[in-house]
Symmetry: C2
Subunit: 101 residues, 2 copies
C-alpha cells in the first residue's frame, strides 16, 4: 500500500542553491532507495525548518527508510526530528490531481 | 514561488472508500482552488490522523487557502489543526523525481 512519509526538523541552513550543491550526492543516493517513488525537498528559511515529503510503494520500505534516514540526520547533528507516516486516499487524491507515480 | 502546504489534524474517521464518498464534492471544489497544482489526501486510521499535502503555484494562494480551509475544518468540528508551509528545493527535488506539476 502506498505510504506517504513526511519528515520535518529545525534547520538553520544552508537553503536553496547552496543546499543543492551540498546535498547533490545524498539526493542521488536517496533516489535509489528501495521502494521510493519520489521525494520533494522542503525548506523554510524564515522559520528555520526543513524536511521532505516522500511517497513509497509500501509501508515496509517507508519504515525502513525512516529509521535509516532519521539516524543519518542525527549523525549530521540535527535534533527535533519529526517523522509521520500516512496512507493515501487514492480516490480523493485522483480528484485533486495528486501525483502518485 | 512554489509553496508546499501540509495540514494534519486528529481524525477518528471515516477513512478510505467511505471518506471518498463523503468528501467527493469537497474534493471537486478543492481541485478548482486558485493556484492549486495538486493535493494528496493523507490518512492514518491507526493513529487517528488525517490531512493533506498540497502544492501551490505561489505563497499567496497557499496562505489564502490555508486560512479558508482551516476555518472550514473548524466548522466541521475538527480541532488540533496543524498547518505548515514550505518552499521547495527544486534542484534537489528534481534529483529524486519529485512531482512539481
Amino acid at each position: 500500500m502506498l505510504t506517504l512519509l513526511r519528515i520535518e526538523f529545525p534547520f538553520s541552513g544552508p537553503f536553496g542553491l547552496t543546499l543543492l550543491q551540498e546535498m547533490r550526492g545524498l539526493a542521488s543516493s536517496i533516489a535509489d532507495e528501495p521502494g521510493l517513488i519520489w521525494k520533494i525537498w522542503t525548506e523554510n528559511a524564515d522559520e528555520n525548518m526543513a524536511g521532505g515529503i516522500y511517497l513509497f510503494r509500501d509501508q515496509v520500505s517507508a519504515s525502513r527508510y525512516t529509521e535509516m534516514h532519521c539516524a543519518r540526520l542525527a549523525e549530521f547533528g540535527l535534533t527535533g526530528i519529526d517523522a509521520k507516516q500516512f496512507q493515501v486516499n487514492e480516490g480523493l487524491t485522483a480528484l485533486t490531481r495528486g501525483p502518485l507515480e
